[in-house]
Amino acid sequence: MKENCLVLGIETSCDETSAAVVADGKELLSNVISSQMELHRRFGGVVPEVASRRHVERMTAIIQEALDQAGVRLDDLSAVAVTQGPGLVGALLIGVSAAKALSFATGIPLIPVHHIAGHIYANQLVEPLRFPLVSLVVSGGHTELIYMPDHNRFERLGKTRDDAAGEAYDKVARLLGLPYPGGPHIDRLAREGNPAHPLPRAWLERDSLDFSFSGLKTAVGNVIQRKDPVNPADVAASFQEAVVEVLTEKSIAAVQRTGVSELVLAGGVSANSRLREALAKRCAEEGIHLRVPPPELCTDNAAMIAAAGTYRLWDGQTAGLDLNAVANLALA
């Protein structure tokens, strides 16, 4: 059953229109991503209606390109996997509508995929996942700690109670007058500064694996207002240090609590150099095996959806033509 299984993935949960072909759940044949970042930059963030309009325009051409690059025909596909949620509902609907029409037109199975599951499975495209594992999924939309005893089984250990880490980066970038999206700019600027400003770490209740970043953002705002002139590089370094320390220590705690030895980093913020550095150091100290996705698989892409979808296909987790997009889909 696991031979020559070609799955087309479709991802439109936010501002990337993406389609990809993955073979046997592990081999990336193509991963076409049409980013709308330039389109949204002038608004200082993703505008849902603008994103949806672009998705409709690009979707068909992107699917075609994914097949062309993979060198496969529509008839060769075993299934079509699509992000069902979470995400912007209007944006998700484009991918879901396209996937359903494609499934109907060709008769191949339709597989709904959770976006977070996709991020974790991005790592599967590098080397097979080893279970049980804990994954830190951290992006502009999410900050979650997930426990996976096996394929297709997810247990959420912790989540953010307010802003996602990536969102905090964007907001602090705006405070510092840096362009959108803020992550890469803060990361770069932080390298030139020192974490000189004491900023709060929200550990929350004892034993909690949840996160909170809104207080940190407020504290950064206060530092900028209070001190003039303030060295932006120091502020960036102080902020980044505070975020990274909490992410790292909670991840280590999650690994120790579940007794696993695999920590898998996933999501857009996993491209952050300081986070990679800190996690690598702490994992080495604790004897934990850390897996970090290559940068091109960190951000939203359809290959991760195809990879996750393949395992769901093998598990028989397909959907009917009445599949709907769900903005706040639960991971289960």
């Binding site: 529509l74 509508s97 033509l321 709907n324």
Partner: protein, 239 residues
């Protein structure tokens, strides 16, 4: 030639299958329910009942807006993907033209209308062609109702069509008096069979369909875009 027609641009969801001029089947619902959930299963069921396979289709027709942004996108994305997957031509037809077809027999002009909120309407002015189609005599637009009525004053008898018309009926009567006529409830519901008919006619006339980058006709910019542009005109944005 088998034509599959789909319209999800308003609360009405319509799916029809035509064989050239002949309507083989049609499903129309008019309730606030999720088009994204029901469109594809409705298409599948209709084809199954009519014993027509996807492989038998020759042309895909879709209502391309204006209307509900999300609704139109569901129809257009579905139609684009079906057409691409089966290598079939796709023809997009104005959602207003589809509704105007219900006034084909009216002796005068036809103004289909959807509520665009904030006292504005999506509308246009059409007339029958004599060959069972409608053609636009005034360009489609989104416009404040009062401005639109002002513009219609010298157009003679006009039939107003659409479920949303009821909301504006009094003001229309006040402005246009005896020149204003109103559709019956069945005439206020766009029919996918009419969409299929218009698409076939255009396909025969032009012999070419929409390209891969086909998008809905929203008739207006996304709100954020409009704001950004006006801010720029006022010199607030320099980026």
């Amino acid at each position: 030639m088998k034509i599959l027609a789909m319209d999800t641009s308003t609360l009405v969801m319509g799916v029809a299958l035509l064989d050239d001029e002949r309507v083989l089947g049609e499903v129309t619902t008019n309730l606030r329910k999720d088009h994204s959930v029901r469109l594809m299963p409705t298409v599948a069921r209709l084809l199954e009942e009519l014993r027509v396979a996807v492989a038998d289709l020759d042309l895909i027709a879709v209502a391309s807006g204006p209307g509900s942004y999300t609704g139109v996108r569901i129809g257009v994305t579905t139609a684009k993907t079906l057409s691409w997957s089966r290598n079939l031509p796709l023809v997009g037809i104005s959602s207003l033209a589809v509704l105007a077809m219900n006034g084909l027999r009216f002796r005068g002009k036809v103004a289909p209308l959807f509520d665009a909120r904030r006292d504005r309407v999506y509308t246009g002015l059409f007339e029958g062609t004599g060959s069972g189609e409608v053609r636009a005599v005034k360009e489609e637009r989104v416009i404040p109702l009062d401005a639109w009525l002002e513009e219609l004053k010298d157009e003679g008898p006009i039939l107003f069509l659409g479920d949303d018309v009821a909301r504006f009926r009094q003001r229309i009567e006040t402005a246009l008096g005896d020149d204003a006529a109103f559709g019956t409830p069945p005439e206020n519901i766009p029919r996918a069979a009419c969409l299929g008919r218009l698409a076939l006619a255009r396909w025969r006339r032009e012999g070419k369909g929409e390209g891969m980058a086909f998008t809905p006709n929203y008739l207006q910019l996304a709100e954020a875009e409009a704001k950004w542009l006006s801010g720029r005109r006022n010199g607030k944005n320099t980026e």
